[in-house]
Symmetry: C2
Subunit: 384 residues, 2 copies
């Protein structure tokens, strides 16, 4: 088999710390487990690169990234101690911009953020059924509220008007919603294989083994709400085996807290998905273990981008306390995704995932960046 090429993008803040653990694990998988994989560590995008070159990444960054099969990003965002007037300071708008540039530039139109409760993580919800939380939020990643159109008229005056145009197209909506139904089927099949079926009851009493829940704010934002509704209905007709459900984004936030175990696949716009994925991640035990995948399911040749859902956490950077597991779970997603082209990666993805899960569920789950790294490496048969 040909080697696959991965780029590691450590980024800012805790990014390099958690990426060091991911790199060590990757080495073990390559050398110890004979994974047909090459990797390179790139010094950009990063605030440090900006200090030296006046930009977060080189002009030909997208072109160069297209040469890889998959990308693993640590975190972005102005690092360094807060409130230090001497440090090199970038606005969020500059330091985080590459996230949106990469997602849009590589046309990674679907962002998948699985949220599953793992014993050993923080249980924020009092109801013990919250341990059954196992949902996949699929977020639109290419347009909508983050289309970036708009501006400021009379900026800086007392007459300023700021506008932001939300743009939703049929094409992007259709592929997103269809992908959600496909993933719902795939998850059901996986649950079947693992003999842990779930049941969703339809209003007429019939049942299905998977569900897709559509999120909108149709009652206050009807223009795109109507488009989403129409496309959802159209696409759902092709998947009679999947239960469908609608929630308004405000009610969804509430129901995530009240009964998160009722959700399966959730499909949402860019902004709604942004909020609901953070919420789902924390309800599932915190951002320390929440991975994410940015994919182009319609063009598997585009390199996919995997990243922890957390940010660069400048307040804890450099202290060795950042949890590397969200990055390791993201690496597992990456291997799983490569597994769609090359069966050997499947095993590695599953092995890594099981190792992480078992460690979390252990009597004394490790804490501290390196301690977690040593533990996972030990289980995989490598060294940190």
């Amino acid at each position: 088999t040909d080697s696959h090429r991965i780029a590691l993008l450590p980024g800012d803040g805790i990014g390099p710390e958690v990426m060091a653990v991911a790199e060590a694990v990757l080495k073990t998988l390559i050398h110890g487990h004979r994974l047909p994989l090459d990797y390179e560590v790139l010094p950009w995008p990063a605030t440090d690169w900006h200090r030296r070159h006046g930009e977060m990444m080189p002009e030909d960054a997208l072109q160069r990234l297209r040469g890889y099969d998959a990308l693993l990003l640590g975190a972005l965002g102005d690092p360094g101690p807060l409130n230090d007037p001497d440090r090199y300071r970038l606005s969020d708008g500059v330091s985080l911009a590459p996230l949106l540039t990469l997602r849009k530039g590589l046309n990674l139109w679907a962002c998948e953020r699985p949220a599953r409760f793992y014993p050993g993580t923080v249980q924020y919800l009092a109801d013990p059924r919250a341990r059954d939380l196992d949902m996949l939020v699929i977020r639109e990643n290419s347009e909508g509220e983050y289309a970036g159109q708009g501006g400021r008229l009379r900026a800086g005056t007392r007459d300023e008007i700021a506008t932001q145009l939300e743009v939703f197209t049929y094409a992007a909506t259709e592929r997103l919603i269809r992908h959600a139904f496909e993933r719902a089927r795939a998850r059901r099949d996986e649950r079947d294989r693992e003999q842990r079926p779930r049941t969703f009851t339809l209003p007429d009493g019939a049942t299905r083994e998977a569900q897709v829940c559509l999120i909108t704010k149709r009652n206050a934002q009807a223009f795109w709400g109507d488009l989403y509704d129409r496309v959802f209905e159209e696409v759902a007709a092709d998947y009679p085996d999947i239960a469908t459900h609608h929630e308004l984004v405000d009610a969804a936030a509430m129901k995530f807290v009240q009964a998160p175990w009722r959700f399966d696949v959730v499909v949402a716009s860019n902004l709604h998905g942004d909020i609901l994925t953070d919420l789902a991640a924390v309800l599932a035990g915190g951002l320390g273990v929440a991975p994410s995948a940015n994919l182009n399911p319609s063009d598997p040749d585009q390199p996919a981008l995997f990243e922890p859902t957390h940010g660069s956490a400048p307040d804890i950077a450099g202290q060795g306390v950042a949890d590397p597991r969200a990055t390791l779970f993201s690496l597992a997603l990456l291997l799983h995704w490569l597994g769609e082209k090359n069966a050997i990666f499947y095993g590695a993805a599953r092995h890594l995932h099981e190792t992480l899960t078992a460690d979390l569920a252990g009597q004394h789950p490790a804490s501290g960046t390196d301690a977690i790294g040593v533990r996972i490496q030990g289980a995989l048969g490598g060294n940190l």
Copy 2:
């Protein structure tokens, strides 16, 4: 003192049920407690009115409502059993439209949704500190994501493009944020009187006794994010006694779950506020007790609109199980607001609020619409 005029707008679904309890309580306050108040019950806005007249409310509705001092709304939204093909069915876009029409038409630009944990309500969060939750989310109510501008191009085709324009003005932003700081001061003074001070620590270690947290998504929606940031900084300079804080909306959703007791006043745009108020309400014990106020603080002659945060709940309408407390807490807010013009209402507001709170905290808080009504009425000295 002159009598004040209130309009009761029962609306749809569980609205009339919970309003019946509020009306009984209001009668007790008027007759038993000599509150200088008149009220009328209006049959609109309502789906039932729509069936008879082809519209949710009369054309001169806004004009007639301006003749009252305050409005209490039950709930809106197409009622009746779900899945009943024979019933009169309205889309959310039609049946809920009066909510936005009233808020915008009466220029009620600030929506206040206090969230406080009351013993006796559901405790969704495992951390016992969540019992200290006591925040006020102030939501922009007049523009932003709900400006209603946009449209559908090539609607219904595979080339459809839907747009929704978010519009933010300096004027609306400034008055909103200034109001938030004023409310933070008023809440601090109230806490001082009640001898339950709170402390918020600034980055330099200094402390303040109140806080305002600004919500934006500045890193992905910079146009209005910048406007909000600038205005927040400008206004905050006038309130050196109040601590300030920023959160991105996604991080805020997360932190509401992780440490809701850290928030005091939270100020957010129309959509962000919509989501965060539902989230805060559920974390504080559920929508059954969450009140809200729609106000025009710059023109106290505009009638304010008070409503429970919950909707019309068609699935439980007609069963006598709806919790009337969110409406009663809204009535308490209404009386408190009238108290700004007429001192006698203060006492009534406080009395009603304390009665509701004491009943919730009791050994066996009542459940069922009428049972709760009977209990509260008993405590106030009236009958249902």
